[in-house]
C-alpha cells in the first residue's frame, strides 16, 4: 500500500504546477466548450446571418459584389407561382406524412416493444427506410414506381383495375406524384418515430397497466388513460424529428420527381436549390429558404419549452 501513496504524491505535485489553472471548473468548462461553439458559430451561425443578407440583396453565384435591394427579392419570390406551390407542398407533405407517421408509429412501437423470437431480423427490415441514405432509397422508389415496369402496375393491370395498355404514371400525374412523395416521406421517417415510441413504451412501469387491469380497465381504456398521456412527451420528440426531416428535405423530391410533373411536387428545399445553385441566384434561393424559418423556430420553441418543463421535474 505504501508504493501507490508515493506515486500519488508525485502526481499531486505535477498537477499543481501544470494543471493548476485547468483544475478550476470555471476555466476548464469554457476551454472544453469553446472549440465546438466557435465551429458552430462560424459554420452555422454566420452562414445563417448570410442567408438573411443574401435575401435582401441581388447576390448571384457568378460575382462577388452585390448590392442591397431591400424587400425586392422577397417581392419577386412571393410573386413566383412555383414558389407558392413549393410553400404549400412543403406544409402539406409534412403534415400529411407526419399524420400517417403518428398513427403507424404508435402501432409499430407497440408491437416492437414486446419480446419475440426473430425480433432482431424484423427490426433490421423495419429500420431500412430510416437507415438508408435518402438519395438511395428514393432511387429504389423511382424504380418501384417506374411507369412501364412497376410491379404495382403489373398487379393492377392483371387484376383489371386499370387498363393494361395504359399503365399508371405514378410520378407523371400531379395527384399521384404528390401521393408518392408523401408516401416516401412517411415511409422513411416512420422507423425512427416507432423506435423512439418503443423506448417510451418500455419505460412505462408495467405495474401501472397491471394494476389497472386488475381494477377492470380494458385495453382501450388503459391505452387512452395510461399509455397515451405517459407517451405524449416522447411522442412529441419523435414527431419533431419527423417534421424537421420532412420539412427541410430536398433529396427525396429531387430524385423521385425532380419537382415535377411541371412543378407540382416542388418543395422549398428543392426550389431553393434549383434557383440558388442551378439558376445561380443566391438572393432568390436564400429568400425561398427563409420561408422554412417560422416552422423551424416553432420547433425550437417547443423543444425549449419541453426542456424547461422537464428541468422543473
Amino acid at each position: 500500500m505504501s508504493e501507490p501513496a508515493v506515486h500519488r504524491t508525485v502526481i499531486i505535485d505535477e498537477s499543481f504546477r501544470v494543471h493548476h489553472l485547468l483544475d478550476r471548473e470555471s476555466v476548464l468548462g469554457p476551454v472544453m466548450l469553446s472549440p465546438l461553439l466557435i465551429y458552430l458559430v462560424a459554420l452555422i451561425g454566420l452562414p445563417l446571418v448570410f442567408v438573411f443578407i443574401y435575401a435582401f440583396s441581388d447576390a448571384t453565384t457568378g460575382s462577388d459584389s452585390f448590392g442591397f435591394v431591400g424587400l425586392q427579392t422577397f417581392q419577386t419570390t412571393l410573386e413566383d407561382p412555383v414558389f407558392r406551390i413549393a410553400l404549400r407542398n412543403t406544409v402539406v407533405f409534412t403534415v400529411l406524412a407526419q399524420l400517417v407517421v403518428i398513427v403507424l408509429a404508435t402501432v409499430l412501437g407497440f408491437v416492437l416493444s414486446a419480446d419475440f423470437r426473430g425480433k432482431w431480423f424484423v427490426r433490421f427490415l423495419i429500420l431500412l427506410p430510416w437507415t438508408t441514405p435518402v438519395a438511395l432509397s428514393a432511387l429504389a422508389w423511382l424504380w418501384m414506381l417506374d411507369s412501364l415496369f412497376s410491379p404495382f402496375n403489373w398487379i393492377l393491370g392483371n387484376l383489371h383495375v386499370v387498363d393494361q395498355g395504359t399503365p399508371v404514371a405514378w410520378l407523371g400525374q400531379d395527384s399521384l406524384a404528390v401521393g408518392s412523395v408523401v408516401a416516401l416521406q412517411a415511409w422513411r421517417t416512420l422507423p425512427l418515430a416507432a423506435v423512439i415510441l418503443m423506448a417510451g413504451l418500455t419505460s412505462i412501469p408495467p405495474e401501472l397497466n397491471e394494476q389497472a387491469e386488475v381494477d377492470g380497465a380494458g385495453f382501450w381504456r388503459r391505452f387512452f388513460d395510461i399509455t397515451m398521456p405517459l407517451l405524449a412527451p416522447i411522442m412529441m420528440v419523435a414527431i419533431l424529428f419527423g417534421i424537421v426531416a420532412t420539412f427541410t428535405d430536398m433529396a427525396a423530391v429531387y430524385i423521385l420527381t425532380r419537382g415535377g410533373p411541371g412543378n407540382a411536387t416542388q418543395v422549398l428545399g428543392s426550389w431553393s436549390f434549383y434557383t440558388g445553385i442551378q439558376g445561380g441566384s443566391l438572393a432568390q434561393g436564400a429568400a425561398i429558404g427563409i420561408f422554412m424559418f417560422p416552422v423551424l423556430l416553432g420547433v425550437c420553441i417547443l423543444m425549449l419549452r419541453r426542456a424547461s418543463q422537464t428541468e422543473v421535474v
Binding site: 500519488r8 504524491t9 485547468l22 471548473e25 468548462g29 466548450l33 472549440p35 465546438l36 461553439l37 465551429y39 458552430l40 459554420l43 452555422i44 451561425g45 454566420l46 445563417l48 409499430l108 408491437v111 419475440f116 424484423v122 433490421f124 429500420l127 427506410p129 437507415t131 438508408t132 441514405p133 435518402v134 438519395a135 438511395l136 432509397s137 432511387l139 429504389a140 422508389w141 424504380w143 418501384m144 417506374d146 415496369f149 410491379p151 403489373w154 416512420l190 422507423p191 423506448a199 417510451g200 419505460s203 424537421v244 427541410t248 433529396a251 430524385i255 428545399g269 431553393s272 436549390f273 427563409i290 422554412m292 420547433v299 425550437c300 423543444m303 425549449l304 419541453r306 426542456a307 422537464t310
Partner: protein, 280 residues
C-alpha cells in the same frame, strides 16, 4: 399476461409482417432486380415477379468495374473517418463540460447546441457554398470534411451529454480525491465507461455523413470526389439512360451494411436519445 393469449400473438405477427413488408419492399424489389438480365427486365409482357431468364451477376460486376462506384465508396469512407475524428474532438470535451462543469447553465447550453442541429442544410448550403469557394475547396472532399461536422457535432454532443450524465459523478470525484487532476481523472475513469456511448456516436456520425445529399451535390462536380449518396443517383444516371440493375445493386450494397450497423447500436442510440431528450 396479455401477450400470451394466442389471438394477440397472431395479430402481433400479422401487424409486424405487414410493417416489415412495407418497410423492406423497395429494397427487396431492388435486390430482386439487380440480378435480372436486360432482356428479362425490359420486356413489357414478362411477369416481373420471376426470373424469366437465369439471374446474372453481370450488372453487379459492371457496377464495380465500369463505374465510379468504388471511388464513391472510398470517398465516403475517407470523409466519414475524418469527420468522425473531428466530431469526437469537438463534441467529447464540450459534452463533458456541459454535463459536469457548467452547473445550471448545462441544460441551456445543451439546448443551444441542439438548436444548431435544427438549422437545416437546405438553408445553409448557399452561404456555405460561397465559403467553400472562397477557401478554394470546391470540388474537393475537403469541402465536405469542413461542413459535415455541422450535421454531426451538435447531435453527437447532445447524445454524449446524456451518456456522461448517466455516469455517477462519484467516480471521477473519487479519482480526483486520489490525487488525479480532473483531466486525467476523466481519461482514466469516465471515458472508459463512456465507450459504448462513444461507439454509438461514431456509428451515427458516420451514417449522417453518408446520408447527406445536398452538400455533396452543391459542392462537388467531378465523379472523382463524389460520395455514394450523391454519386450514385447523379453520376450513374446519364441523361435519361438508367442502368437499373447496377443502380439497384449500389443502393442495396450500401443500405444493408448501414442498417446492420444501426441495428447493432440501436438500443444505445435510443437510450441516448431518451437521456439527451429528457434532460434537455
Amino acid at each position: 399476461m396479455v401477450a400470451r393469449r394466442p389471438g394477440v400473438v397472431v395479430s402481433r405477427w400479422v401487424v409486424l409482417l405487414v410493417f416489415a413488408l412495407v418497410c423492406a419492399f423497395p429494397f427487396g424489389w431492388a435486390t430482386f432486380t439487380m440480378f435480372k438480365a436486360d432482356a428479362d427486365l425490359y420486356t413489357v409482357g414478362h411477369v416481373p415477379f420471376f426470373y424469366n431468364s437465369p439471374p446474372t451477376f453481370d450488372h453487379v460486376r459492371v457496377l464495380f468495374t465500369d463505374t465510379a462506384f468504388l471511388t464513391f465508396v472510398r470517398n465516403s469512407l475517407e470523409i466519414g473517418v475524418i469527420v468522425v475524428a473531428i466530431t469526437l474532438a469537438l463534441s467529447v470535451p464540450a459534452a463533458y463540460a456541459i454535463a459536469r462543469l457548467t452547473g445550471q447553465w448545462g441544460g441551456r447550453l445543451a439546448m443551444m447546441v441542439f438548436i444548431f442541429y435544427l438549422v437545416p442544410p437546405t438553408l445553409l448550403f448557399l452561404p456555405l457554398s460561397r465559403i467553400v469557394a472562397d477557401l478554394g475547396l470546391q470540388d474537393t472532399i475537403w469541402a465536405l470534411v469542413l461542413v459535415y461536422p455541422t450535421l454531426t457535432a451538435p447531435f453527437s454532443t447532445w447524445l454524449l451529454v446524456g451518456f456522461f450524465r448517466s455516469i455517477p459523478r462519484d467516480i471521477e470525484e473519487q479519482a480526483m480525491i486520489d490525487g488525479y487532476s480532473r483531466a486525467s481523472a476523466v481519461v482514466r475513469t469516465v471515458l472508459p465507461l463512456a465507450v459504448p456511448g462513444l461507439f454509438t456516436v461514431v456509428i451515427f456520425t458516420f451514417a449522417f455523413t453518408m446520408n447527406d445529399f445536398i452538400y455533396a451535390v452543391a459542392f462537388i462536380s467531378s465523379s472523382d470526389n463524389m460520395t455514394v449518396s450523391a454519386g450514385v443517383p447523379v453520376e450513374l444516371i446519364r441523361g435519361d439512360v438508367f442502368f437499373w440493375q447496377s443502380l439497384m445493386a449500389a443502393a442495396v450494397l450500401v443500405a444493408i451494411p448501414v442498417a446492420l450497423a444501426y441495428n447493432f447500436f440501436l438500443d444505445r442510440f435510443v437510450k441516448g436519445l431518451a437521456l439527451g431528450g429528457v434532460k434537455g
